[in-house]
Amino acid sequence: MYFYALIGVGLFSVGLYALINYAHLLRKILALNVMGSGIFLILIALAKRTGETQPDVVPHAMVITGIVVAVSATALALTLMLKLAAETGRAELSEKDRD
């Protein structure tokens, strides 16, 4: 099960890298979603440490809540991105806009 948790760490790091590296906001939103999936994967993989019995269901419930919150946050972020693009013509945060 550590395998899945480790991949969760990997997904989080890959997402964080893309979040920092790319200026395009849609890419940042995708990166945040991938980071979220990584965290969910760690939580669910660690919930299986109960031995032979059923996994711990409390993290399962938390992750279901998390998935729904993630989709609503994504919708809000996409609207923000579109508004920014409508104002500046670009869906990016760049140094030039900082005035």
Partner: protein, 321 residues
């Protein structure tokens, strides 16, 4: 038994490595549309991972949201963005700017590697066997009013999580609405095939949502999964070109929108006044309370998610201020 373990292990290894590879490619490819399609495929593989980790409830939520609604949301947003860029004539400029950002400070990968190693260390230093809260859940299941443990946790033991989540959904919809409407897209007529597909699929989606809500009391399923499937029916209708128009601002619609969070909050307040504890359901009524809460939550979640997809604030024809 040996072969079985080996087969399961290679399944896991293959799934995990392709998840990581897919994440890397989707975040680093040039074409945004390709990135979104890859993200949909990524959600699909995540659902298989949840299945392998004995989390069918999470797999259901991921199948409905991660592989379904998020994909539709992202694709629609990308289409709107392209329209804005074409109108503003900024497509070319954007390309040049992205190239400027390709140059990366050499410290960043190093710092990220440290983050990854640190996280990996923390994961490995956790005790290998830990029951977590599973024993507490098992001993209290009899008092929860339902026989499925995930539903018991979501609606009873940690009901406040769900209560707050309903408000998060509502607030994010209000946030989207407060920005006003974005570019309206030119909608073509759907044509006979799409028309038939929608006419057949929407009733099936509604039926499956009702089934998931009902089955949630004793098996994987419940309000979130049912709400997302119901929202998918709404999204399909919106994609066909159906627009609720003035209906969005009518009282029944607004009531459905707040019914889930509202009923939850009222139940919490009443129980606090009567028993001194938030959301501590009396054992004999727990089943019926959970059923009522879940039904209204399903409707509210579905309408909120579909309205988030539409992302246009309601405007009544009467208001001219």
């Amino acid at each position: 038994m040996e072969t079985l373990t080996l087969l399961a292990l290679s399944f896991d290894a293959l799934l995990n490595l392709s998840l990581l590879y897919l994440a890397w490619i989707l975040l680093n490819c040039e074409d945004l549309l390709k990135a979104i399609v890859l993200f949909v495929a990524f959600g699909l593989l995540m659902a298989l991972a949840w299945v392998r980790l004995d989390a069918p409830d999470v797999a259901l939520a991921e199948a409905a949201i991660g592989a379904g609604l998020t994909g539709a949301l992202l694709l629609t947003a990308l289409a709107k963005l392209r329209v804005i860029e074409t109108n503003k004539g900024t497509t070319q400029q954007l390309k040049q700017d992205s190239e400027n950002f390709q140059t990366l400070h050499y410290m960043t990968p190093l710092a990220l590697l440290l983050v990854a190693i640190g996280l990996g260390y923390v994961v490995f230093s956790m005790p290998p066997i830990s029951a977590g809260l599973s024993n507490d859940v098992a001993t209290n299941m009899g008092n929860s009013g339902v026989s499925h443990s995930v539903t018991a946790v979501l609606l009873n033991f940690r009901g406040y999580d769900t209560l707050l989540e309903m408000f998060v959904l509502l607030v994010s919809l209000l946030g989207v609405w407060s920005f006003g409407s974005t570019t309206s897209q030119h909608e073509t007529t759907p044509g006979p095939v799409l028309d038939t597909l929608t006419r057949r699929l929407v009733p099936v989606l509604i039926l499956v949502a009702a089934y998931l809500l009902w089955v949630g009391a004793h098996a994987p399923g419940g309000a979130f999964q049912a709400g997302s499937v119901l929202a998918a029916a709404g999204v399909l209708l919106l994609l066909m070109g159906w627009r609720p128009g003035g209906y969005l601002s009518t009282l029944p619609f607004r009531l459905i929108l707040v019914a889930g969070p509202g009923l939850f909050a009222i139940t919490a307040a009443l129980l606090y006044l009567l028993k001194g504890q938030l959301l501590a359901f009396p054992v004999e009524y727990a089943g019926i309370i959970i059923f009522a809460l879940e039904t209204t939550a399903t409707l509210s979640i579905a309408v909120i998610l579909a309205a988030l997809f539409l992302s246009e604030p309601p405007h009544s024809d009467k208001e001219h201020i």
